[in-house]
Amino acid sequence: MDEEPERAKRWEGGYERTWEVLKEDESGSLKATVEDILFQAKRKRVFESHGQVRLGMMRHLFVIIDSSRSMEDHDLKPNRLTSTLKLMEYFVEEYFDQNPISQIGIITTKNKRAEKLTDLAGNPKKHIAALKKAVDSTCVGEPSLYNSLNLAMQTLKHMPAHTSKEILVVFSSLTTCDPANIYELIKTLNGLKIRVSVIGLSAEVRVCTILTRETGGSYNVILDESHFKELLILHVKPPPASSSSECSLIRMGFPQHAIASMSDQDAKPSFSMSHLDSAGEPELTLGGYYCPQCRAKYTELPVECKVCGLTLVSAPHLARSFHHLFPLEAFQETPLEEYEAERFCEACQGELKDKSVFTCLACKKVFCVECDLFIHDTLHCCPGCMQTDRMS
């Protein structure tokens, strides 16, 4: 018990009706419908990414995490804050995995104030470290939507127009304490083309509905922890760029990683340029990435060169975001009854049991729902097509 003295005992916590979650609804209307809606939403995610739309590949995303009193609620285990921060760690990793040339920043809000946890940066490690540290912070007071949005906006408004500027709010409280009219701020955000999305942890709040509708973001409320995770993953994919955002060619540098070991006599330890504005202790390191234009040294990528302003990325990073531009086409959905051939999924070799099956339009192979999702979300290429390619 010593290791978790703060946490309330089980019997002190809220009265739970765990059987409710498993309850089968006789009337069938509520539960079935909501599940159906959720399934549809899952499918929609696949569909949406398949239109020929331009995507905002370079994203600048601020995540605002509510740390007000309501985050102490125990409806997510062990409490909302811990659960959220843990999921955020996962999110940050996924985010950089899918969007290698993007940046993220974290803001927390409590006690009517907003506070920057990390600045916009492209290094997942730093963010994750900050998130881990934040677990111990206490949750007090009310959040301020205005202050935190304003803080994020101050940074985002200086970002170039071709990048996608986004804010994701994880909002647990049902109230917000604002110093000024938030609708003015929403107008400004809209003018700056900053997209704000909200994930609500408790219920639908009007001001968030307006906020997301006006700025073109999405608004979801979680049902439980797994749904929360699902909603976060929705924000991993780059959003379609607004048609009015300008197109421009961007100069990029691909620095080589120079490896030096202590045993190498020629190598001299040097400071990384990214330490210039960071608060942490500068460290002397051996080796790193050198800007091809000005030879400034950086320890991590992607980054904008502090000296000459060149965007530095690594080629594998860029290649990873390639699949967003050429996504796999959606498979054709047919009801199981109409499908007459052998009922085996091409990928997992399992029996097709769901109410519909999915056929690849190119190779005519058939897949189950789970594999269809996996192929489109993770693999980004059809295993059937790969096989036929090899055969020929």
């Binding site: 409710e20 509520l30 419908t33 809606i37 304490c177 604002d178 408790s202 219920a203 049902l223």
Partner: protein, 750 residues
């Protein structure tokens, strides 16, 4: 799209239709030859339906309750007309208009700036009365209303162009032409196809006489939001007389006397002319009624029309003397120290014995006074409201021997030491006021979202319905969540029962309930109490216990008061707080202004909490008399009626939260008595359906859990496609076989 309902073509201005709407139309079509009693959720549809009958029904009179509702109906109508014009390509000459009081329609710069309806009426009258205008002829400095003059000169000959006129449209039209919109509207309702106005214009005999008496017999009358119609009827026929009324009446009489003596010196011929007219009697009015031109006025009984005004009050002086005697008698009656309750015949007998006033002249009192005021050319009618009231009382008391009671109370129950005598002349039978309406019009439709139970309405209004039906709502998701909270976490029963309402534990539990709900419900919560006093007590007690402070950490608190201006201010701020994410709680009172006329759509009311069962004040003598009457005349048990009345008000309060199918809200009944079958069974069907056994007699904790779950479910994205086919139908879906079968089940014949 176009619908074919059993051979009748209906134009429907939207792409989608609710199944209940279709069912409603079906029922309406089948029975549109007489009186119908309905309980729909979607009400505007009836006006759409009506339009399918441009030939058979010459006129539709649509009565609603509040100005915003009237405006909503007209806007709906406008959509329909646009659609109709687009579909058929025929520009038809169709006139629909809304009518409201002078206060809402006046465009005179000085008059319209006045704040109170009464002031506006009085000022308007002082500018537009016929003799004022006559004086204006001889003396141009006498002010008149130029808008009325203009209308009178030109407006009557030129009919108002066909179209749909809302209140603002009428004002615009009036400004453009320089005509008075109010008189224009009043004149235009005679040939308009659809008239939308408040139901006082039809039920209150004093107003109906001016406005509605010339409506064609073939009209169809719709009473919307009619769950309270019996109370409106009763109010319109009841008279309350206080000492203040009598004092003001006294001054009125003196003014009359002075005016008479002055006129006698200057213009005796005028009084003689009046006398001659009175001898001839009210034959003209009688002829008019017989030929069915007018809606009969329940204050002016039939017999009066056939007789001449009795000799004793024919001359002006005699009449003033007569009124004076009557007044003195009333004063004497008010000078008592105990409560008196008597019937109308008893009262008449007493008055005959004491001051020798006969029944017959009393009956002519109202008519005689009106004639006198006309003759004397008194400008400001508003000043004479007291004497008019007394004369109405005189006529009513001598006309109806049944259905009325007289109660004289020397003081109010709450303040037994302060003498404040009131004479209540109370109508107990709502059917008296509504009878002329049923008698005259071809079809009368009574409809509301909360007419429940249906069968009691025909009994108390005394009519035989042709069809009664109540409709459920078909929902794609269960967007309402009624919960009955019976206990606190400490298992103490929660109830507003008289014996326990002062109980500390009950008040604390109510406070805890509100506190817990304020933490989990987003945006707006509306809480209803059973009365102002009860609310004050509870809030004071919460303040002492510190509950109020805790609630305020979650949401702001606003309170409805008896002051209308204060309440509308509180409402405005409440809505602002809901809008900008601060969240708010509105504490209000069942039967108050908020519970009757104000909608809390979407975020303005995510939860409604009903603290206690809103019974009427049962110690009131008027109520007791009415209950007795109901028992004797209609065989309705007291308890049944009280429960019925309480439940319709509870349903009314709770129904404020859900105003459409995309809306959602919690309905929390915080009293264990709601769980009983007799209470539960009287809720409207659409609420009852969602009240499962699992949602009865909950504790606060259970309520919180259920609410949290519900709110999360409801916050999931909900698009139109999800509704399609279930609760929203396209034309093709509507025509499919099994859907038609489903629809047939929606309407429940009661």
């Amino acid at each position: 799209f176009r619908l074919n309902i059993e051979g009748l073509l209906v134009y429907f201005p939207y792409d989608y239709i609710y199944p209940e709407q279709y069912s409603y139309m079906l029922e309406l079509k089948r029975t549109l030859d007489a009186k119908v009693c309905y309980n729909p959720f979607i009400k505007l549809i009836s006006s759409c339906m009506q339009y399918a009958y441009p030939l058979e029904v010459t006129k539709l009179v649509y009565c609603s309750r509040t100005v915003p509702e009237i405006e909503k109906v007209v806007e709906e109508l406008r959509k329909l007309m646009d659609y109709y014009a687009k579909q058929t390509g025929v520009k038809n000459d169709f006139l629909a208009l809304a009518l409201s009081s002078r206060k809402n329609l006046c465009i005179h710069p000085e008059v319209s700036s006045l704040r109170f309806g009464k002031e506006v009426d009085g000022k308007c009258h002082s500018l537009t009365a016929s003799y004022i205008r006559a004086q204006h002829h001889s003396n141009p400095s006498q002010p008149v209303c130029q808008f009325f003059e203009e209308f009178d000169a030109v407006g009557r000959q030129v009919p108002i162009p066909p179209g749909i006129y809302n209140l603002d449209d009428l004002k615009d039209f009036g400004r453009r032409k320089g005509w008075c919109p109010y008189f224009l509207a009043r004149y235009a309702i005679l040939h308009a196809n659809i008239v939308v106005y408040s139901y006082h214009y039809l039920l209150d005999p004093k107003i109906a006489d001016l406005v509605s008496k010339e409506l064609a017999k073939k009209s169809v009358v719709v009473f919307d939001e009619a769950h309270n119609i019996d109370n409106v009827c009763i109010d319109s026929m009841s008279v309350n007389i206080t000492r203040r009324t009598l004092d003001r009446c006294q001054t009125n009489v003196e003014t009359l006397q002075n005016t008479i003596s002055r006129i006698k010196e200057t213009d005796a011929a005028k009084l003689r002319e009046e006398y001659r007219r009175l001898v001839e009697g009210l034959k003209e009015a009688n002829v008019a009624r017989e030929t069915d031109i007018y809606l009969s006025n329940p204050v002016l009984p039939d017999e009066i029309l056939q007789e001449a005004v009795p000799g004793s009050i024919r001359t002006a002086e005699h009449f003033v003397g007569f009124i004076k005697r009557f007044l003195e008698y009333l004063k004497a009656r008010l000078r008592i120290h105990h409560v008196v309750q008597e019937s109308a015949p008893q009262f008449l007998k007493d008055i005959y014995e004491k001051v020798c006033i006969d029944r017959k002249p009393l009956r002519f009192c109202a008519e005689r006074l009106r004639s006198l005021l006309r003759t004397l050319e008194i400008a400001d009618i508003a000043d004479f409201s007291a004497i008019t009231l007394i004369s109405h009382f005189a006529t009513l008391v001598s006309t109806y021997s049944k259905g009325f009671t007289i109660i004289i109370e020397p003081f109010e129950d709450r303040t037994p030491t302060i003498a404040n005598p009131v004479l209540h002349f109370s109508c107990m039978d709502p059917s008296i006021a509504i009878k002329p309406v049923f008698g005259r019009f071809q079809s009368v439709i009574i409809t509301s979202g909360t007419l429940s139970p249906l069968d009691i309405y025909p009994r108390i209004l005394d009519f035989r319905p042709v069809t009664m039906a109540s409709f459920t709502m078909t929902l794609a998701r269960t967007c309402l969540c009624p919960l009955i909270v019976g206990r606190g976490n400490d298992q103490v029963a929660m109830t507003s029962k008289f014996e326990t309402r002062e109980d500390f534990a009950v008040i604390r539990n109510y406070g805890n309930l509100l506190l817990e709900m304020s933490a989990i419900v987003p945006d707006g919560i509306v809480a209803f109490f059973t009365s102002y006093i009860y609310m004050e007590n509870i809030v004071a007690s919460w303040y002492e216990q510190g509950i109020l402070e805790n609630i305020q950490r979650n949401k702001l608190i606003f309170i409805e008061t008896q002051d209308a201006a204060e309440t509308s201010m509180a409402l405005e701020k409440y809505q602002e707080a809901c809008e900008n994410g601060r969240g708010a709680i509105l504490l209000s009172v069942a039967r108050g202004k908020v519970s009757e006329g104000i909608d809390f759509v979407h975020h303005f009311g995510r939860a409604v909490i009903m603290f206690g069962v809103p019974y009427v004040y049962t110690q009131s003598r008027i109520l007791k008399a009415r209950l007795e009457y109901l028992r004797d005349q209609f065989q309705i048990r007291e308890n049944d009626f009280l429960t019925f009345d309480a439940m319709r008000h509870a349903a009314q309060c709770v129904g404020r939260a859900i105003r459409g199918k995309t809306d959602y809200g919690l309905m929390i009944f915080a009293d264990k008595r709601y769980a009983r079958a007799d209470k539960r069974g009287k809720l409207p069907r659409w609420i009852q359906e969602h009240l499962t056994d699992g949602s009865l007699n909950l504790t606060i904790d259970e309520t919180v859990q259920l609410s949290k779950h519900f709110l999360r479910q409801m916050a999931q994205p909900f698009r139109r496609e999800d509704q399609l086919g279930l609760s929203l139908l396209t034309l093709e879906q509507l025509q499919s076989e099994d859907m038609l079968q489903k629809i047939a089940q929606i309407a429940q014949q009661a």
